[in-house]
Symmetry: C2
Subunit: 359 residues, 2 copies
């Protein structure tokens, strides 16, 4: 009698079985106030009995014109991404925000630091996208534009008429450099993130800095150098080492190289706490004490910073807030809001035990 010839039940199956219209069954799920509690109950019970799990999400999406998912575009693959606790924290907060708005997170990891493949973006089922720290000119961004999806960029260059959340990286870097300069350091090294999407890492020349395609790295280098210039330290006196990603191993390696320069740096400006932790490790291995022989300052203020030995002086950014704002912005865009001015997360110097005047 029922039209269920072994196929999965649909709204119609239930409607037929209960003897009501399909619209009513739909209402039972989406607008309980539109029918009597009693009928609704009968419908739900029948659905349960027939093994109907509720309206098909895809069909619903097509009808409502919204998928209920937020796409998250990542420059790197997941593992290098998550070697940075800063991203984990911010993403957690983003996911929670988005989930509270009843939406899921569609993760599109990058390949080769270039961000996701455009084809992935073209087929992504989402009605708003968040792009996180993609290199300038990432092809994925064109794909987003083509689909005319609302976009929020995080830690990326401004795009005309595009919503944006960002940290004032220049100011943060300046804060770090000022602290170090004010302590009296004059020989300083920079331990930085990747400048451009390739697998390169190691010492960096000025040319590579100039052509950098990751905004965050570029801004921080600029902030460090401009502030150091105020202390009479020219950019050519400041060695820079570039890590592929922000993990401790690379921090250690970079610090070792920086410490082999002449004159030996008495302070290291690090673009993440993880890198800084690696640097502290390297110092120990070289028989140098921190902060006695070497001052180290990080960036982000992740939980590990306070916990380190010595506790890490660092630039704090509120990562939870960053994720929350990004999520809310995405949600608001979904509701048709206009992009509005960029939302800037403040930075703040947190002085702990890893910095001191040079001996």
């Amino acid at each position: 009698m029922r039209p269920d010839k072994g196929r999965r039940p649909t709204l119609d199956t239930i409607a037929l079985e209960v003897g009501v219209s399909r619209a009513t069954v739909s209402n039972a799920y989406n607008r309980p106030d539109q029918l009597s509690a009693q009928l609704r109950e009968r419908i739900i019970a029948t659905a349960k009995r027939l093994g109907y799990a509720g309206p098909d999400p895809t069909a619903r999406s097509l009808a409502t014109q919204r998928t209920g998912a937020v796409a998250f575009l990542l420059g790197q693959g997941l593992s290098s991404a998550f070697s940075d606790p800063a991203l984990s924290i911010m993403l957690d907060s983003l996911a929670a925000t988005v989930d509270s708005g009843d939406r899921a997170l569609l993760l599109l990891p990058g390949v080769a630091d270039l961000g996701p493949r455009p084809a992935s973006v073209a087929r992504a089922q989402s009605d708003v996208v968040v792009a996180y720290s993609l290199p300038d000119g990432a092809p994925a961004l064109d794909a987003v534009r083509e689909r005319k999806l609302p976009l929020v960029v995080v830690d990326q260059p401004a795009l005309p008429d595009i919503a944006r959340v960002e940290v004032d990286d220049v100011a943060g870097a300046e804060l770090a450099a000022r602290h170090i300069g004010a302590l009296g350091h004059r020989h300083i090294g920079i331990l930085g993130f990747s400048l451009s999407p390739d697998t390169r890492y190691g010492p960096v020349d000025r040319d590579r800095v100039r052509t950098a395609r990751f905004r965050v790295t570029r801004d921080r280098v600029a902030g460090y150098l401009s502030e150091l210039a105020g202390f009479g330290i020219g950019p050519q006196e400041v060695p820079v080492w570039e890590a592929r990603c922000g993990d401790q191993q690379l921090g250690r390696e970079g610090a070792r190289w920086l410490m082999s320069r002449e004159p030996r740096p008495t302070a290291l400006l690090c673009m993440s706490d993880e890198l800084a932790l690696g640097a502290i490790r390297a110092a120990g291995e070289l028989g140098l004490s921190v902060p006695g022989d070497l001052s180290v300052i990080g960036f982000d203020d992740t939980p590990g910073a306070a916990w380190a030995d010595p506790p890490l002086t660092t630039i704090r950014q509120d990562l939870v807030e960053k994720g929350r704002r990004t999520g809310e912005l995405a949600l608001r865009l979904l509701d048709g809001a206009r992009p509005g001015p960029p939302s800037t997360i403040p930075v703040e110097l947190v002085v702990r035990g890893s910095t001191a005047p040079p001996s």
Copy 2:
């Protein structure tokens, strides 16, 4: 003339403009071999001109009955999840595998350690789901079953007729305990993961172990204890401390408690490398040397293990392989494959510098 009244262009818009049928335009995107290269080119060009970004993913999903996404169900929130590098590595590998099959990853983080809300699962746009380390009886699993989606469980109890990837946790724990026992240790503590989904952490009594709802934790405790019994060490002699998640801070805290027991343990069995790292830290703070005064063994063999000081003895599981197999299994299920027998990832003892005979 065109039917585009300011709305987004669709297949029909293009079809009308080019003067072909809608089916042909569809073929231009999905089956290039079904039309002449020349016509196809004309279609693509017109699409570009009209700002058509290709077939709408949602509509396509409805028509094809597949969404092209793999849902990933997580017990915990993202930040505690990613405090464990083991998950990051495995998830990265899973994402890469899934991406190579042209599918995206839909992330459904858990709330309160219980896994995702059933409502989130019910609305998730995906055609296969991977459940990772959910507690027994997680409501999300019922939701998956109701929707009759193919399911792969990872690090979770077997479910009848459900595909499964897992690590032999019992064997791994036994390996660890055997190593420690064989070295001659007789006073041993266990530093473990969460046993059940609540925010509790701290010392654990036998009752809580018996009612544990996380299989991984349960199995490892069982493995540790059964092997220790072989050395004549009764379960009541082995203090257990439970961490909420696997990060170093909690490892330190737990280790401090364990080291305050009488008689003081000479070895600590830790369920993750991060916990073990925290334990090493605690030992240092207590003025104990590792492995001189205290042996510490971890689990997973994450990159940090080899890098630690001293390098960590641990139980290795191939996390990349785990992610790859999970991804492939999910993909195969999508193609209609039957679940098949569970896929077990082997474990292996890796002896480094953090274990030695008791002094």
